[in-house]
């Protein structure tokens, strides 16, 4: 899709718009804009420090030398009303919610007079409620004569919204169908290249067991006011997955960082297996709290270092298999890691491969393997499948369930509600840094309202 908007230049092929072939040798973002191709990226491509109005005003298509804030604002307001895409216009985009940012991005594409609009996984970070307000806006755009490409791995969304569906797998087109003729099993097979059985899950454990992981009255400073942790209390029992649902920016990252030992809490207590543990990376590792992060490139793995080096990073303090009298035993490490790479189906299973050259799915499999090695009693998994393809996500989910079946306590913090609902035994919400209970019988709409803080009172 980056090819379509000019960020990546194609090696070959043809691109036609309204039947007119485009000049691919000179294809660039500016050319794409002129041609009327607009894109809403999965990761916001707005300038965070600028306001919505400013973001809609700096592009290369804007004419005129002067920038007159009030005049530009009127233009944006008119556009927002026309498509039902309201968002705060005068604060830095950085302070908007994901859904609001998305609306601003769609507005921007519209302001450019986009004829083709590409939406890359627009619902990935939205609550069900936000998704429901997005769909009518997309339908209105299509009804207005725009071509809309809607990228999603959620089949029900495709069925709700799309007229036709094309499945891509590993960079190739598998097939195209009218949505009316597409059934879920067929699409699933196309996406995976094989059948996808339902996730097998055994019954929940007895509630009587003592919790393996206890977090009490944990408070910590946040990146923003809304993400400050406020007296978070959580308990996870052996053989249990506790799901923490929530919208990005409500304290997930802060909770993850505290439990990884890289953010100092202002108050609170942590117990593992009944024993108090200090909030520090080393103390947590010694207490065998494993940590699986969706931020592979920045938190989980070190791109630029080999698979082998990444693997032994975890145990670098005192892993006797790899270290003898403080010296790294390279060949022993490579043997161990190579076996593990095969076991966790990392491709290529080459201990010397640079992590940066692995696909997201393979890199995450490596991280999963590393963290689950040695059966840690407690695992903190934060957005463990962010940005993964369906097959790799399934692999991660299966491994989490296997750990649960073996008696591990798993804290699953995820902004993907589907993931939490599919895996967790109990689910709570993280809203503005507080833990909010979710009633057992709540449906998706009710959960969505809780996540938005509508029923917090």
């Amino acid at each position: 899709m980056n090819v379509l908007v000019g960020l990546v230049r194609p090696d070959g092929g043809r691109l036609e718009l309204n039947g007119v072939p485009l000049d691919l040798a000179r294809w660039s973002p500016a050319a794409a804009l002129h041609a009327g191709v607009g894109m809403v990226h999965q990761h916001s491509s707005l300038v965070p420090a600028l306001t919505a109005v400013e973001n809609l005003s700096f592009g290369a298509l804007e004419r005129g030398w002067r920038y007159r804030p009030s005049r530009e604002r009127k233009r944006v307001v008119a556009l927002a009303e026309r498509f039902g895409l309201e968002a705060p216009l005068d604060v830095a985009v950085d302070d908007l919610s994901v859904g609001q940012r998305q609306r601003v991005e769609i507005l921007r594409a519209e302001a450019r007079g986009a004829r083709v609009l590409v939406l890359d996984e627009p619902t990935a970070a939205l609550t069900p409620t936000e998704t429901r307000t997005l769909f009518p806006a997309i339908r209105r755009l299509a009804a207005d004569g725009r071509g809309v490409v809607f990228i999603s791995h959620k089949l029900d969304e495709i069925r709700d919204l799309a007229d036709r569906v094309t499945v891509l797998r590993r960079g190739r087109t598998v097939g195209t169908l009218a949505v009316a003729e597409a059934d879920a099993a067929l699409l699933g097979r196309w996406m995976l290249g094989r059948d996808l059985p339902a996730l097998a899950r055994e019954a929940a454990p007895a509630a009587a067991a003592e919790p393996l992981l206890e977090i009490r009255a944990l408070s910590a400073p946040g990146l923003r006011e809304a993400s400050r942790l406020r007296e978070v209390a959580l308990e996870v029992r052996p053989g249990e997955i506790l799901g923490v649902a929530g919208i990005d920016g409500n304290g997930q990252r802060e909770l993850e960082e505290v439990l990884a030992g890289v953010r100092a809490p202002s108050a609170g207590e942590l117990r593992v297996g009944g024993r108090p543990v200090a909030f520090g990376a080393r103390a947590l590792r010694t207490a065998r709290v494993a940590h699986l992060s969706g931020e592979r490139e920045t938190a989980g793995l070190v791109p630029g270092m080999s698979a082998c080096e990444n693997w032994i990073l975890k145990g670098s303090y005192d892993d006797r298999r790899f270290f003898r009298r403080g010296r790294l035993d390279r060949s022993a490490a490579r043997r161990v890691v190579e076996a593990a790479l095969h076991e966790f189906d990392v491709r290529p299973a080459d201990p010397d491969a640079d992590i940066a050259t692995l696909s997201g799915g393979n890199a995450q499999k490596l991280a999963v393997g590393r963290e689950l090695e040695g059966e840690p009693p407690v695992l903190v998994a934060v957005n463990p499948t962010r940005g993964l393809d369906v097959g790799s996500a399934r692999f991660v989910h299966e491994r989490l369930l296997a750990r649960r079946a073996a008696g591990g306590a798993i804290l699953l913090v995820s902004t993907e509600l589907d993931e939490v609902l599919a895996l967790a035994d109990r689910t709570v919400a993280l809203v503005r840094g507080r833990v909010v209970a979710i009633p057992e019988a709540a449906d998706r709409a009710q959960i969505g309202a809780i996540l938005l803080g509508r029923e917090a009172a």
């Binding site: 794409a32 990226h41 491509s45 400013e54 005003s57 700096f58 007159r68």
Partner: protein, 302 residues
């Protein structure tokens, strides 16, 4: 008091000019520590041209052109080749120091002539104002350009489309690229402008304040300008206030020296630099640097 304020402005002007140039460059996402060298080249170009032609005005023009040329040289490496901006900046500083020193010796063979100078220019009418007149309106043209320039840079950044694009490039180069804004073009233009202003700042040292040229005469003022940008939180008004503050410490330093205390004079000379250090140590936090500051941009990355 009036005299001290007027001196603060006069001594702060080169700092302000250089800082305004640096501010534009940094808001476009480039750290230009070569600003010291660009000032030095400007000081020399102004001096040499003024001596050769007898006109300080032509000297100033030469300084602008020479500064911009060094800015473009910096851009060729830091933007064109995506080299590390710190390394390129250091290279520019060393090159400028050596080249101007060599050229001065080759041209003047040990006896540095006196250059014609741009003196104070009283603004008719305003200069007669009580108190304010002598402070603000009997100054060198560099002071006027600096103050008007600060307002102009502020207006440019918030009220013009090119200014908006420049900020977008510094904050999120990739997002700007996706909107069809050429990151390279914006950064090259910013560096040319920043270089020209640094050159102008250098000219104010050689053809206004002193009328002479000595090796390394900028004496770290480029680095103080860098500190001013940070201290002024990447805003022109902040930069103007910070430049005035540093101008005042320099003016005070001269005063203290003149008093003839029984303290070795280098102790007073140190004052502006000690203040720079203290300010940088204390001014951390608050104000946010452009998010893409110091990062070369390449489209294929990701």
């Amino acid at each position: 008091m009036e005299e001290l304020l007027a001196a603060s402005l006069r001594l702060g002007a080169p700092l302000l000019l250089a800082a305004l140039g640096e501010l534009i460059v940094e808001r476009a996402g480039v750290v230009n520590i070569g600003i010291e060298g660009m000032m030095l080249v400007g000081a020399f170009a102004a001096f040499a041209a003024a001596v050769a032609t007898g006109s300080p005005g032509i000297g100033v023009g030469a300084a602008l052109a020479a500064g911009a040329a060094v800015g473009l040289l910096f851009a060729a490496f830091a933007v064109g080749r995506r080299a590390d901006q710190i390394v390129v900046g250091m290279a520019v500083n060393l090159l400028a120091l050596g080249a101007t020193g060599l050229a001065a010796r080759a041209l003047y063979a040990g006896s540095i002539p006196e250059a014609p100078r741009w003196g104070e220019l009283a603004i008719p009418g305003l200069a007669e104002l009580p108190w304010l007149g002598p402070v603000l309106f009997v100054q060198t043209p560099f002071v006027y350009v600096g103050l008007v320039g600060a307002a102009g840079v502020g207006w440019f950044l918030t009220r013009t489309r090119p200014g908006l694009r420049l900020r977008a490039v510094g904050e999120a180069a990739r997002a700007a690229d996706a909107e069809g804004v050429s990151v390279a073009r914006v950064r090259v233009a910013a560096l040319a402008f920043g270089g020209a202003l640094a050159g102008l700042a250098g000219a104010s040292l050689s053809v206004s304040q002193t009328g002479t040229f000595t090796e390394g005469m900028t004496a770290g003022r480029g680095f103080i300008a860098l500190a001013i940008v940070i201290f002024g939180r990447w805003r022109p008004v902040g930069a103007a206030a910070a430049a005035l503050f540093f101008g005042a410490t320099t003016a005070l330093q001269f005063r203290l020296q003149a008093r003839g205390y029984a303290v070795p004079y280098p102790v007073f000379l140190m004052l502006p630099y000690v203040v720079t250090l203290a300010v940088l140590a204390l001014a951390t936090g608050g104000g946010r640097a452009p998010a893409d500051l110091g990062r070369p941009y390449a489209r294929e990355e990701r």
